[in-house]
């Protein structure tokens, strides 16, 4: 096989796009809560790591196929989301700062519990496809990344259809636009906000399961995924699923080429620099709509 510059470029692009799809899924949970409940959930990364561990242990202890384990990790994330929402988040939604601090407390609780329960050793989940690749012309497409990408994009598409085509989905979007007006129209705002929180932890659980198959992880990795989600969120603007997918892809591409040209250490600097420039010039996100300032 001949390695030309074009092949290298293409190979980087394949990796970037496949990872970018997963980044979009990683962000979606955060974006949902942020849009519908106006809560910046600092513990979002911990929910992802929890999903990764749930998938890992179900697969290890029950000897199940990793993909079936994900299906079991999602209900576990839902239960966790329900508990957190009932015990902590509900009743705090009125102010903006209190939930942030509360969710930081949650970050400490979850990180410490996971460290105590599962130690800080890095782990990763081996699947039957881990070492497999498909050759597409001169390029190699890793099968496991392709599966993770397809699964992410399908889930995001399903979520998009749910939010735009169903009655409940439209009600959720109404809350995101203006919760007070939504309440006067008879939409059960509190109940749908709880539902959204649990949905968001399910999405985090799923993306965690996928990450367990793609990368090695440990309990302290949560904040890194949180920051990646921030970057994607700033790229996409709130409440815009096609934007989230595009944002995920841009982050994936930026990271891949950034680490290739600048070295892996500076790759995150590229992402954050991109984020800050975007915030300054497009505060509603690259794909966000212009909004009138509220009084």
């Amino acid at each position: 096989m001949v390695f030309t510059a074009e092949v290298l470029f293409g190979q980087l692009m394949v990796g970037a796009i496949l990872l970018g799809g997963v980044y979009a899924l990683v962000t979606m949970g955060l974006a949902l809560i942020f849009g519908v409940m106006r809560i910046l959930n600092i513990a979002h990364g911990e929910f992802i790591i929890f999903g990764a561990y749930a998938t890992y242990w179900v697969s290890k202890l029950l000897g199940l196929d990793p993909f079936i384990s994900i299906a079991l990790a999602i209900p576990a994330s839902a239960v966790l989301g329900f508990l957190v929402n009932t015990l902590m988040i509900r009743g705090l939604t009125k102010s903006f700062d209190a939930p942030i601090v509360s969710s930081f407390g949650l970050l400490l609780i979850m990180q410490a519990s996971m460290l105590i329960a599962w130690t800080g050793d890095p782990r990763s989940l081996v699947t039957p496809f881990t070492a497999e690749s498909i050759a597409v012309g001169p390029l190699l497409v890793p099968v496991i990344r392709l599966i993770a990408f397809s699964l992410s994009v399908s889930v995001l598409t399903a979520l998009y259809l749910f939010l735009t085509r169903t009655f409940v989905g439209r009600a959720i979007r109404a809350i995101a636009q203006d919760s007070e007006t939504a309440a006067t129209l008879g939409i059960p705002v509190r109940r749908l906000q709880s539902f959204t929180f649990i949905l968001s932890t399910c999405l985090a659980g799923l993306s965690g399961g996928l990450i367990a198959m793609l990368l090695s992880f440990q309990p302290t990795f949560g904040p890194e995924f949180l920051l990646k989600s921030f970057v994607v969120l700033a790229l996409s603007g709130v409440g815009n699923i096609p934007g989230v997918i595009a944002g995920g892809l841009i982050l994936g591409i930026g990271e891949s080429y950034g680490s290739f040209f600048l070295g892996s250490g500076l790759r995150n600097v590229v992402a954050y620099a991109l984020l800050i420039v975007l915030l300054l010039f497009r505060p509603r996100g690259l794909f966000g709509e212009k909004q009138v300032r509220e009084v």
Binding site: L40, F96, L108, S113, L266, N268, I276, P283, V295
Partner: protein, 305 residues
Amino acid sequence: MKLGFALAAAGMVVLLSIPTMAAENNFIITLAFIFSAYTTLALAWNIVGGFAGQLNLGHAAFFGVGAYVLSLFSTAGMHPYLGVLGGGAAAVGLALLMSPLLRLRGDYFAIGTLSLAEAIKIAILNVHAYGMRVAPYPGLGRIENYYFLSGLLIAASLTTYFILRSRLKLALVSIRENEVLAAGSGVNPLKYKVLALVVSGLFAGLTGGIYGYNLLYVPAEHVFSIEWTIIPLFMVLIGGRGTLTGPLIGAVLYLGIYYLLQFTITEISLLVFGLTVVLIIKFMPQGLVETVLINRVGVKRASIP
């Protein structure tokens, strides 16, 4: 009011007499140093996050830049306290650099500042992966550093007190409560927010500088750690934002609980600590000063600085 001044004077006497009373006990002086550092940071954060209501999640960047610039000055062979002042000046520069972010709405400001702090940390980690050593300067040890820092703490308290007594507080609080209406009544929101950020950055940068010199070692991983943002933020929110009493009470309460847990149940201290934070926010979302002192005990709001 007289009680307030008596308490403040008593606090100042205790603060300044700790090295003498501790009889050069290193453990107590170190503890007092950490306490003063966090409290100064909390007072500094309170100016932007408490009075002006801008949720700055990049406070650690001021602290880190202060410490880092000190290490550069020290490597260049300059007097360490000059380096601390240089660190403060650099943090002011960073605050001015950050000021365009103040145009953003609250939640985006939080995301932007958090990312900026992370970006600076990673960039510096690339240059000095293993941190910088700081050479000790003859005659300037733990105790001198402690006096320097407690002077800083007193200055930050006085600054907060003067803000409370001035029109500046009205401008900042009106921005916090409703920025558009504040602009409509003749307050220039950006100008006041930048001013608040600069003062906040100055104190945080100076604290970072003296902290770095006291440690004699400046690892980027540590001085840019998000804990320098989050812990002061907790202290302010636990105590009560936009006051002088709030951050001070919050700092004592926070560090008290934290070290109590550290020394008793070391293994699970962070877990219990996280739980404590969640419970405090759940039952006192307005902070201790508002929920307990004003609503329960019935102290008049105007009499609490």
